[in-house]
């Protein structure tokens, strides 16, 4: 495998041209890192990413590719999002195959059984480009997939940037299990972020595992998750609010990965076990005040415990979060402030 590349003078702009025999496991990473998809190892390939794509500092992608980067050439020779610059004179650099790092070993527990709920057309995730901008996750027909990981297919610049930011900063669901470690490196577990104009006004986003494969032992081996973001409403909200929605939907994806696809109310689980994940993400990444962060994290969880809640359960939660969780009135006000963009930072 050989890689020819050029790099800008800063860490945030790259253009790669790749040719040679490259293992398919290597290059086609999430478009949050590299905006191209690599399909075959059977013939010579020559690819380029758009110049505005970037590799997050400290990621594996960066550490593997940084050594193959070069000083940025004159702009006119490389600012071409489609074609590669003339690169015959570039030195060739051998890039090792990371051997699919971070592949989750198994699909986690599988609680199974099923009870009623809401379901839409599954719409399989096929190639990353199918159905982009639509409201169903694409039909996947004809696609044999297999090399997709985390796809950001959102067109709206504000939302797209937020998805990138969250993917790059990563979300830790629990020790050693993050958005990137589960969905970022394995072709077996894929997540696709898309925007939608058809979600109801009060629905800011949703997540659906459009494809879950169980083996004969009932273990989850593969999964495609599609996250839809409401492009009508979200861009007017603050970045903190949008981040909360994306994190919330990512937790849904994670719960599917954990096997909670059937009768479990995922919002119950989220409220009892993952409120901290969302709230602390906001605190750590947006310096959101703790009470605001927990109020935001509660957004979308008002129906949690609808069937099973009792005073004892709620009392236990209040005891656990104590001063972090304002009362309902204050929470609602805080949530509305961030939703309208009155509080927090503007999304550009």
């Amino acid at each position: 495998m050989k890689i020819l590349s050029r790099k800008s003078s800063t860490l945030v702009e790259y253009c790669f041209c790749i040719r040679g025999l490259i293992s398919r496991n290597y290059v086609d990473k999430t478009p949050a890192f590299l905006n191209f998809v690599f399909r075959s190892r059977s013939s010579v390939k020559r690819l380029c990413i758009s110049p505005w794509a970037y590799i997050a500092p400290g990621t594996l992608a960066e550490s593997k590719l940084a050594a193959a980067c070069f000083t940025r050439p004159a702009a006119e020779t490389w600012v071409d999002p489609v074609g590669c610059p003339v690169d015959n004179d570039l030195p060739e650099v051998e890039v090792p195959n990371p051997n699919n790092p971070g592949t989750p070993g198994d699909g986690g527990t599988n609680p199974n059984p099923g009870t009623p709920g809401d379901t839409e057309t599954p719409g399989d995730t096929g190639t990353p480009n199918d159905g982009s901008g639509g409201d169903t996750p694409g039909d996947g027909s004809g696609s044999t997939g297999g090399t997709s990981y985390i796809y950001n297919l959102v067109d709206n610049p504000c939302l797209s940037g937020m998805v990138d930011a969250i993917v790059n900063s990563d979300i830790t669901f629990k020790a050693n299990e993050t958005l990137q470690s589960i969905f970022g490196w394995s072709g077996h577990f894929n997540i696709k972020f898309m925007e939608s104009t058809k979600l109801a006004d009060d629905v800011m986003g949703n997540a659906q595992a459009t494809r879950i494969l169980y083996d004969a032992d009932g273990k989850i081996t593969d999964m495609d998750v599609t996250v839809l973001l409401n492009v009508k409403n979200l861009p007017g909200a603050s970045r903190e609010y949008i981040a909360m929605v994306i994190a919330h939907e990512s937790v849904h994806a994670y719960l599917n990965y954990q096997g909670y696809s059937y009768n479990t109310n995922q919002h119950d689980l989220m409220l009892s076990q993952y409120l901290d994940v969302i709230a602390l993400y906001l605190v750590d990444n947006y310096n959101t005040p703790v009470q605001d962060a927990y109020s935001l994290a509660m957004g979308g969880l008002y129906t949690a415990f609808q069937n099973s809640i009792n005073n004892q359960t709620w009392a236990a939660l209040e005891e656990r979060y104590k001063n972090k969780l304002p009362n309902l009135n204050d929470r609602s006000r805080i949530l509305a402030d961030y939703e309208t963009g009155y509080k927090g930072s503007k999304c550009k």
């Binding site: 709920g117 379901t119 599954p122 996947g140 044999t144 986003g205 659906q208 081996t221 593969d222």
Partner: protein
């Protein structure tokens, strides 16, 4: 095909259903199975109809292990046949050949049972019809005959989950 033979073949098939993805006897199976799952996307036509798929993949090898032809038995839906046409490029058949060659030197034809159940949570669970079984060992209208090697089966339950808001 005589009923006795059919029952024997079905017995072999059903006994192999419990293999899961690991198989000590066939070292390449795990990778093949994993690769198959990674690339499996039920075609939209099949998603609309939500059927199970149960079929046999027949692979003819040349003497040096190259794939001469791949076909599916008549129980496979046309959309699934089309899907396999695309998927086959991504599957490593040569390692299967090596697995089999280690066991039986002169085998050139291999059968891989494929069984996929489809479920859309809360909406639909597919099942296999008797008609599927009738066609399971029939290729282009003719019952299978000759010498074959039966490779471990591929089983997946293919589930479309709920929309969570």
């Amino acid at each position: 095909m005589k009923m006795k033979t059919l029952i024997t073949l079905l017995a072999i098939f059903s006994s192999s259903v419990s293999f899961g993805q690991k198989n000590i006897e066939f070292p390449s199976f795990e990778k093949f199975y994993s690769n198959f799952g990674e690339n499996l996307r039920y075609p939209s036509g099949l998603q609309d109809e939500w059927p199970s798929t149960i079929t046999l993949m027949k692979i003819n090898f040349t003497g040096n292990g190259d794939v001469q032809s791949i076909s599916l038995s008549d129980s496979a839906f046309p959309q699934f046949v089309h899907l396999m046409e695309k998927m086959k490029e991504k599957l490593d058949f040569n390692s299967i050949y090596q697995d089999i060659k280690a066991k039986q030197k002169d085998v050139k034809q291999v059968l891989i049972p494929i069984h996929i159940d489809y479920e859309k949570i809360d909406v639909w669970k597919s099942s296999i019809s008797s008609e599927d079984f009738k066609k399971l060992y029939v290729f282009n209208g003719k019952p299978i005959s000759g010498k074959y090697f039966l490779y471990p089966n591929i089983y997946y339950k293919y589930v479309a989950g709920r929309v969570n808001e």
